[in-house]
Structures are given as C-alpha cells and as structure tokens.
C-alpha cells in the first residue's frame, strides 16, 4: 500500500468533511482531516500528506495564512495545495495565486468526482 496517496483536508464544516472523506477513501486515498486552522504546519509534519485540500474561512487561523506559512517552510514549500473554498471573488483567487496555491476550486462549482479527477491528475 506504499503507493497510496495521502490527502490532508482542512475544513470546518462537518458535513462537507464527511462527504469528501467518504469520496476520497472510496477512490483509494488515505485521508486525514482537521476542523480548524490551528497548528497546521505541525499537523502537516505529522501527517506528511501528498496534497493539501485547504478551506479558507476557518476558525482560528485562516487558509491564506496557512498557505503562506507552508510556502515559507523549507520542508513543505513545494507541497501541492488546492484551495477549496466558497470564497470565489476575483480578489480571493488572485490572492490565492499570489500566495502560491497550486489550484483554486470553488466548492459549489465542482462535484466530488471532479475533485477526485483533479487530485489524481495533480499526483500523476
């Protein structure tokens, strides 16, 4: 099972989290989750994900701050990060790109099948 990819999903909504976990697990991914933005780097160090799925509006530390910390971290600066949010204004997307997000997906515009396809193509 060493070729199983691990996705870390930081999302504060329980229902969305449980749907994504179910979908990803059914598609053969290992999934770790967290419901807030606190200590994200420590969590990444512990979980060592292949890809991070990151909500923006989180209790405590927001998604943009987490992304910034990742890009400034020597070990994790190249981690693939998908911003997965319902904030979808141009300025949010531009900010995500400026901070080095690998992808920006607006949740309500995608199905979970499309999310799985995106993750698979990014890890291929």
């Amino acid at each position: 099972m060493s070729d199983t990819h691990k996705v870390l999903f930081i999302e504060d909504d329980d229902f969305l989290r449980s749907l994504v976990v179910t979908k990803l697990q059914k598609n053969g991914f290992e999934v770790a989750t967290k419901g807030d933005g606190a200590d994200a780097l420590a969590l990444i160090n512990q979980e060592k994900p292949d890809i991070l799925l990151l909500d923006l509006m989180l209790p405590g530390v927001g998604g943009f701050e987490i992304l910034e910390a990742i890009r400034n971290d020597a070990t994790w600066r190249d981690l693939k990060v998908i911003i997965f949010s319902n904030l979808g204004e141009e300025e949010d997307i531009q900010k995500g790109e400026a901070l080095g997000a690998s992808e920006y997906m607006i949740k309500s515009n995608f199905t979970l099948d499309e999310l799985v396809e995106k993750i698979q193509s990014m890890l291929a």
Partner: protein, 251 residues
C-alpha cells in the same frame, strides 16, 4: 432622515449612506458564503447517491434525486447571479483602468467555460488576426472579463445540442470590436429592444434559471467604458452580440 440642507449635512448624509452600503455589502458577502456551504453539501451528497457510491438505486429513486440535484444547481447559479449583480450594481461601479489585452481576457473567459461547454456539448472557437493579438486597450480588465463571461455563459446556456459559439476580435480604426455569435435558441424580436433592462428576461428563456441581471450589468459596464453593445438575433437560429470598445480611455 430629514432633508439635508447645508454642504456639511449633505456630506454627513453621504457618509452615512456609504457606511450603510458597506455594511450591506459585508452582510451579502457573508450570507452568500454561508449559503454556498450547505448548497455544496447538498450537491455533493446528491451526486454521490446518484453515482451509487453508497449503494444501488431504483429508477424512481434516481429520478427524484436527479430533480433534487437540478434544483440545487439552480440555486447555486441564482446565488452566483446575485453575487455578480450586487458587486456590479452598487453605488455605481468603481473602475480600475489598466492596459488590457482583450485577446487575453477572451482566452481566459473561454478557458473558464471549457468544462461547461463540454457538458452542454457546445464548441467554442476564437477568431482573431494573429498580428492584432497583442493590441492593448485602456480598460478595467476584471469588468470586461465579467461581460465576456456573461455573454459566453448565456451562449452556452441557451445553446441547442451540438451548438457552436464563435468569438471574434478585430481592430477597426481606434476601436476593438468583439463579436460573440451562437447558433442557439435566439431572442424573440419583441424582446431585443428590452435587452439590458434590469430584471428583463425574454419569454423563451423563462424555464431556465436566471435573474435578468447579468446583461443589465454587462450593458452598464460597456457603456461606462465609452463603448457600445448591440445584439442581432433570429429566434430559433442564433444570436450575435457585438461589443465595440475605444482603444483609449474616455476623457
């Protein structure tokens, strides 16, 4: 509020209105974000059930879930319209003019709808003279992109099966002309003169979701760039929107 009289009173009234408007904008932004979260949950859950991720479905269950999913997707689109309309129709628009490549804006907008076009079986092609592709005009790039996206979205939404959308860009003297032509359901003759009016929707599109705010905003943006936007259409055969924008910023 009593009628303000002095200059100072007018300024105070304006400041109060602006503060109120800011509060309203923040409320709408917060509300739309909050609404999209449970709607995303609905969409994903219904999609997963329909994909039989959690067990097989009877055809009756499938029919009901499909309708539920369609309703959820309509709500998401309506919410999107409200967000756009609110953003572009508050207090007059604030423009940030920069040198803008219409070619890049069009390519980005077409790219944005790639998936939508595939789902609706619509082919989008862009035509432009190669030597004009780097022409820059002074415009608000984001707002022009909104206009192009809005027209493309309509062209896809009101397409027929195996539809075609052609976007062409060319320079005419000191103007850029953009045509967005489709072979979709077209606009009834009696509706053409009302295009761009707030909340107006032609009778042949009423069964599709929409608010009638998208074109209103698009017309406003083009007018405020000193440009023109016109529409030619034959019901049942297709529609062409033509946008003309000056290459230099209006004084």
């Amino acid at each position: 509020m009593p009628t303000p009289r002095t200059h100072k009173e007018l300024e105070e009234a304006l400041a109060a209105c602006q503060a109120h408007h800011q509060e309203k904008a923040e409320f709408i932004s917060m509300m739309t974000h909050q609404l999209r979260t449970p709607l995303s949950g609905n969409k994903w859950a219904l999609n997963m059930l329909l994909a039989e991720d959690v067990g097989p479905l009877t055809s009756e269950q499938r029919t009901i879930l499909t309708r539920g999913l369609r309703a959820t997707e309509e709500m998401i689109l309506l919410l999107q319209d409200i967000i756009h309309a609110h953003k572009h129709d508050s207090w007059g628009l604030v423009y940030t003019h920069t040198p803008t490549s219409i070619s890049s804006v069009v390519h980005a907008a077409v790219c944005h709808f790639e998936q939508d076009a595939r789902v609706h079986d619509v082919e989008i092609v862009i035509e432009e003279p190669e030597h004009e592709a780097d022409t820059l005009i002074i415009a608000d790039e984001q707002k022009i992109r909104f206009v192009i996206q809005n027209l493309l979205e309509n062209a896809i939404k009101y397409s027929k099966e195996q539809g075609h959308v052609q976007v062409s860009i060319h320079k005419e003297n000191d103007h850029i002309v953009i045509h967005i032509a489709d072979d979709g359901i077209g606009i009834p003759a009696d509706a053409l003169e009302h295009l761009g009016a707030k909340f107006f929707r032609a009778h042949n599109v009423l069964e599709k979701e929409g608010t009638g705010l998208g074109l209103f905003t698009a017309y406003k943006i083009i007018r405020e760039h000193g440009g023109t936007i016109t529409c030619e259409s034959t019901e049942g055969q297709g529609t062409t929107f033509s946008i003309t924008l000056p290459c230099t910023q209006p004084a």
